[in-house]
Symmetry: D2
Subunit: 461 residues, 4 copies
């Protein structure tokens, strides 16, 4: 198939060129004449992007306490509609489980259902001293990284000794560590105080997890990572200072990377005062508006490596069940809205260019998690994961037109510019003109290559 007349976007710039897909791969780029009988797509007026690679997704999430209602078909369908052709999700090693078991069970869930490709990080919750060698197997199994938490006792929480110990081994074995950074003691104290004061409505959610909880944990985790000589990736940075700390560590030579999410760039804590605080229950919570501005500025300076959605598709019912932030699951659906939001509020407002969007949402996630150059760029030989994005049409975001089980979107009623016209996964069209054309099971597990320091550094540049 030949895609003609589009504007191809890579992290390095844009060019006007045709692009040929043969089988599952990009075959050629340039001025190309159709072969006899070759189907031709006219991409005139459209941006042709590499399919987005979302580094932080929770489809069919089971935390042990809460469970989202979606499944891998629903989740990856939403991804497809959002131009995300690779989701990097998580397998959870529950207490007592081996990594093999964790991975196998997660692969089984996804298999036959996924409509876009997927890779997996491993949430490590139980790897006592002496067992660190198990991490080596994860590289062989193609895990994209391991994920640790500084909070959420007792199921996810890793103490400093565990962080240090696991990062030491992970670094040595070619695995990057993703860390959810919030200081557990500070969160607990703030939460207990609100409980004591009877202030547990959803409106108080933000107060239960103050910015310093994130910032302190980032500061500490970066230090432990330096000590461990391990690459580290700080998920969902919600404050400017967290990003600054990551940047300073990188300046000192550490392999340290900051992720943020559309919700931290676009929303702020005033949302808790509005009629739907339940739409905004997530960890870390939304922050003062100054943080939004600070994050955009740091993104502009190149200090943020990636944007991920931290997508969690909890049903509205779950969000409103108790009215207390103590018992409301955290996490927002976001896979389907990231691209038009970043186009509208990033590119059109001059905060980034198209190459930046591709770098943050495709190239860098692929580079950091062992998927590049198979995923995340447009070049001959890469998987033909493509998005044709028409930047002109206007749309109003609304839950009823999105493909979540959630029943809500935090961006309800927002006016955005541009529309995904076509999405292709390994040469197969999965969305076209608003119609789903994918096949459950087409989506495949993409084993990650071992972490490459050199490639990762190129993501920082």
């Amino acid at each position: 198939m030949l895609i003609r007349n589009g504007t191809l976007v890579t992290a390095g710039g844009t060019i006007r060129a045709d692009l040929r897909v043969e089988g599952e791969r990009i075959a050629a780029i340039g001025d190309l004449l159709p072969y006899p009988g070759e189907p031709v797509v006219d991409a005139g007026g459209c941006m042709v992007l590499p399919g987005l690679v979302d580094p932080h997704v929770h489809i069919a999430l089971d935390t042990g306490i809460y469970r989202t209602d979606d499944d891998w078909f629903i989740g990856t369908q939403a991804a497809a509609f959002g131009g995300v052709t690779t989701v990097v999700d998580f397998a959870t090693q529950f207490r007592g489980q081996t990594f093999e078991e964790a991975l196998a069970s997660r692969l089984e869930e996804a298999g036959g259902k996924a409509v876009v490709d997927y890779a997996l990080h491993m949430m490590v919750t139980d790897l006592p001293p002496g067992k660190e060698g198990e991490l080596g197997k994860l590289v062989a199994q193609g895990a994209a990284g391991i994920k640790l938490y500084t909070t959420y006792r007792p199921n996810y929480y890793a103490d400093d000794a565990t962080l240090l110990r696991l990062m030491r081994t992970a670094g040595a074995m070619g695995l990057i560590t993703l860390v959810h950074c919030e200081n557990d003691a500070i969160v607990t104290e703030a939460t207990e105080r609100l409980k004591a004061e009877g202030q547990t409505s959803l409106r108080e959610h933000g107060r239960s997890r103050p910015p310093i909880a994130e910032i302190e944990a980032v500061h500490r985790v970066l230090f432990l990572a330096a000590e461990a000589r391990a690459p580290v990736y700080i998920v969902h940075c919600s404050t400017a200072r967290a990003v600054d700390l990551v940047h300073e560590a990188a300046q000192r030579g550490q392999l340290a990377f900051a992720e943020t999410c559309p919700q931290y760039l676009l929303l702020d804590e005033t949302a808790y005062e509005g009629p739907h605080p339940e739409w905004y229950i997530l960890q870390p919570p939304l922050r003062p508006a100054a943080e939004r501005a600070g994050l955009w500025e740091r993104l502009h300076r190149g200090w943020i490596a990636t944007i991920g959605t931290d997508h969690c598709d909890y049903a509205l019912r779950q969000k409103t069940a108790t009215g207390s932030f103590l018992t409301t699951p955290g996490g927002l659906p976001g896979l389907e809205t990231m691209l038009p939001l970043l186009h509208t509020f990033g590119i059109l407002e001059g905060r980034m260019g198209w190459p930046d969007l591709v770098r943050l949402c495709a190239t860098n996630p692929a580079k950091l998690f062992g998927l590049y150059p198979r995923k995340g760029t447009l070049q001959p030989g890469s998987d033909a994961d493509l998005v044709l994005y028409d930047p002109e049409p206007e749309e109003i975001l609304t839950a009823s037109r999105l493909h979540y089980v959630a029943g809500y979107t935090p961006y309800e009623g927002w006016r955005v510019r541009g529309r995904v016209r076509m999405v292709m996964v390994r040469g197969q069209i999965v969305v076209e003109d608003g119609v789903f054309r994918g096949t459950p099971g087409w989506g495949r597990f993409v084993p990650a290559e071992a972490f490459s320091p050199q490639m990762a550094r190129s993501a920082l540049a």
Copy 2:
């Protein structure tokens, strides 16, 4: 009384001058003729120092688990023999106690027994949210500082939220916070591993508390102190990197101060291989020899603010009772040996001058803990706390000639140069030519002034 012909030492330099004591104060300095009938001491050949101010002392220590056998007479008598005329010790606020109770009980212990002056820090173990205002009382009560621990669950341990919360209030109220820095999780993990391996003999003590435990905690505590805008004092730094971190914080404008102890300057972990590992059980433990050198170098650069002894007079019986580091009380006696050791291995080896010794062991502790210029210097109007030190004689340190209950000294058999010839506390001779001449009860509680940022900065210079 007139002290003639001595070489007076202050942090600023040395001068040949006479010094007159009238009542409890220094009355004059210079070329002074005796009044008729005035007693005259010929200090020819001697250094005349301000009495040392030891910022970190545990006389009659009760940890809730262990108790030293000394009392305030024994402890302060050892101080007097060592030229220490002011000990800054601790009152412990046990769970459920008020500060008033803690202070009163400690003052009662000391009253009538002490032979040198004393000030008190408050070990805070129980100050729940909402009660921080209590700290204000400590200033009025003359507490020198508050002390917090990042380890020793459950009795002393303060989590990060508590550290942040208490430092915020302490800083605002004019109190400096002393912190014992060792990461609890790292110490626990290392200890558990040794237990699991059956490696709990005294020789293994050092391995149970690795350097990174100290370094990480210092890094974190400095960060929390910056966030809290609070002055912070890191006790017993045993690693070069801990001192570097404190120095870097000070360079960034923080009021951050590093203390080390003679034992970290003079001993190293090879001691655990010797015949008496029990002599060296303390927290943090002795370190690799490179750390000793690193500490001396940083001391030379002016990055260490004070030297304290962390004196704990456990009897040898307690040290050898179980043979396991898990159940052996930590802490060394040191009040009586600090001065000759620092003279011999500091001054005579060219690592510091007399003014440095006075700065580190007298002037700076006094400045940081609200006792200056009453204590810690030689000037008219200051308390007549004096040490006449004869730098010539040689001595062999040995437990039997020291005034501890311990029954041992970690410096057994070490040859030192110089001897305390006379010690005076507020004009009263307490030690003279090796003979104790003090009076129980002469030692008095010295209420500290509120912390002065300006004076503290002058200690960093």
Copy 3:
């Protein structure tokens, strides 16, 4: 024309792909089938590079004192044999001349003779206060940058006021300033001393221009550039510390770039002791061997932006005429040897990869000097400037086989790996299998775009 089976190299990586040239441009990249009748080149076993862009070349140089014997045919022919398809040379504004005159005269020299493309920096020697606005014209005329010297009185020397004044205007007008950094007073003093001592043989050349002369000037010029808010490019860094200073400036946010040359990476001052000191007379001179190592290390860290040759084709006769460094023209021929030398001693010794070579010798020069993406990369739409490099054959470098007028090469007898198999300039083959096939006059002036801070920053990454 279709180039098949090669390994395409860009700054971003390597891919196995075909590349189609149509007219003067790259038309397509990927798996490409030949059109009927389309000529096909089998590049199997070869690296296909974008033609090198040498940012620092002096063809047909007239310094006012010395003149090289080459002309634009000879110079660009050597470039072609070396895989350099764009030379950035200099027009000199002599005293009293306008920029238009300077440029016109230089373009006339080159026109009809050049066989590869060329861009021009303007050496500014006479722009008195009040005339700075003239710099604006240079942008319109397509000058790549302006060049200033901190030494060479009286013809080139610019004092600090002039540096500051011209950089202020240049920065505002979209011109980057290249500076030759050597402190004039330090060079003069060292030279005078050697003269006084009668030590003026060629062997003494290095002593006449000590490293601190370069380092001081770099330190000062970076400061003036910061004050002027102007982008600055330090030519021919010969010391590690010069590169460090540039890097530190960049870290502080300056647009500051370091160039080095193959001679500083490969040769050192021991050459002056050998039989041919005349081969190594250049400014700055060769340095102690430790600097070579230091430069490679900084190149590896990414602190060096570009490699240029500083090519000057003086005839051996000129080099040996007087035997005194005072009266021997400085400068080495290098256009033809850069590529095989960097391949052999850079890539094959593991100091860089192919993408690094392309970044340093093609992409970055193009980005910094307004030629990107027309020059310096392989992508559809770019000029079809190509080098097919066969990495296997071994050769001995020797003057008689090179195309200089010099009659010598500083690398005489060096064994290198790899050979340029084919070179193409805008779709036209100019060198093939060691045979020159170009046409005088085919080489064209490429007007530079205005300096782009954003593009320049991407060169630092």
Copy 4:
């Protein structure tokens, strides 16, 4: 003589104490009873300061172009009235002169006339390569430092090579180098531009020497000093950034010290708009008001080591002779007004305390220039150079009551608080209650000790 009831001020603090003078020295400090027949001065209500040590004075200045009308009696009498008991002035080595000659001739001028003590820096203007060893003699001769200029061609100007060469030797030989920092080329260009525009009235003076001229020169000189491993002292810093650069150098470990002057703390460029621009012709010129504030702030942070007057007593006639800044001698009289001005606008406005004033104007100059502890402090054994300052009375500064030949003061009509009540030089009263009681010739040359890095560092603290 016994001075009773005063408040003694040192750099370390203030104490209420008596002070006994015996012969030329301070004999004792404290509670002192008069000996029979001993004269007693009641200093009740007064501050008792060590006599000020002005590190930067030009009495009887002959620049080769201009000459002040004062002599050593007039100059040191003004000093005495201002509480300055030691002036550090300059001997100029004119071209062709030896240091011995320069020093002898200056000592002859001062001998028999001076009423306060004096030390001398050597202005080095002619020390060609190979003669640097002469600097060693200066140490033996008691020179306080050497002075170099980056401007004032041709008589004083030292180029970068000379700066580097002389600092290298000076540093090795135990001499500190004072540098007047203004970039000659920048000053020349600005001046030439003003000349070309016919803008040479006194009002334009400030524009002829822009701040960047000072700042660049400081940046460069600090770098050269680092390279030379030499202590360096930047005279008359007039901009905040100059001080910042010195501070940063000190933070990197250099022995670098910043001096400022009362005129830069108290006056600004608006003075040139007023009726008497001639009063303010000096180099560097007065600056924008923001610099004044910046200097006070840095003084407060401890980044300024000393305050000197740069006293030059040109007669008003010389200041108004031509009306052009090109031909008007630069320099202000200031010895007599420094103390009341700093008291009024420094201490009473909360910008410094009395100990700071003593540190900046007495202790630190003495420490940096080899005069401490003989000069610059109050301690037994030091010279009895004393100032009794009564802080209460108010006065209006006016030329007619000052003891200059100038006929003007830049502070005409300013209201100040406090008055010098008594000044003593080596035990001899020279000023008492506004009456001069000194004797020409009592003032003596004080040979400086060699520069002590350790003592100098204590000046930075």
